[in-house]
Assembly symmetry: C2
Amino acid sequence: MRRNRNEGNAVGGHPLTAQRRLLLDLLRDAGGHVDARELYRRAVSRDGSVSLATVYRSLSLFKRLGLVDERRLNRVCCCYEIRQSPEHQHLVCRGCGRVIEFRSPLIGELIESVRREHGFILDRAELCLEGYCPECNSEGHAP
Amino acid sequence: MRRNRNEGNAVGGHPLTAQRRLLLDLLRDAGGHVDARELYRRAVSRDGSVSLATVYRSLSLFKRLGLVDERRLNRVCCCYEIRQSPEHQHLVCRGCGRVIEFRSPLIGELIESVRREHGFILDRAELCLEGYCPECNSEGHAP
DNA sequence: TTAAGTGCAAAGGCTTTGCAGCATA
DNA sequence: TATGCTGCAAAGCCTTTGCACTTAA
């Protein structure tokens, strides 16, 4: 893919090239939990000439601009997701591998209590809960 | 280091070799937050012939046996720590990099609420809070 | 012309694995 | 002897980086 003309909107002062637009679209469609490799695969299937380096560089830019969040949902690699309005956390099922998003007011309370007790100003809270979902529990997949 | 005679206690049915004993000692002394590379450096300084492969293999064994916990405190590598009685979580300062352990009853409440609302049985909760500690805040290191 | 984005390939860093040798039972 | 641990080296992955080319202002 040769770089196309700036496609209208810029992102944080950086031109929205065709590659960046494609990657942002894919991230939006994915609705979260895509790793760089998978994003690259999807990008290539739409445009065979996108490079993996551009995927990483774009993700790095999106992170800096606060457009996407980087999460560690497994041991090996990072997952990326479009930043959404409500703060949310993840539940990972060790049995079937699926990831569920959830929200809880307790997270906010926790952050506030840490600020009160330790004087920390927090700008990022990442909570990863692992266990077994109801289905895997009932089917005896849990150990 | 040639393998020494089993030094008394076995760990989970596996012999406590000199290497494993050394690594467990170092993990205990470290009191948490050591990555594999650092553990390897410390091990080598006490015994020049320990290999990095043994460090990883031992850590993997310790994890399986539940002796150590693996944490992701930064983007790059894992940290390991001896499993301690009280559940605790980590506060990471983005300014000076120091890591503070803390406990909160809210974590337990959170796990219970997830069980109630989603039916998940959780066996691992990893919370990583990032921000700026009081010192870095007052010195203006925070952005 | 200048600054910045891209693709390609190579390199970097962390982790795992294959293999042969040796120790323990 | 048989099993399992170790060191060494190589390979595997994920991610970053150097370079030359191209594009847009």
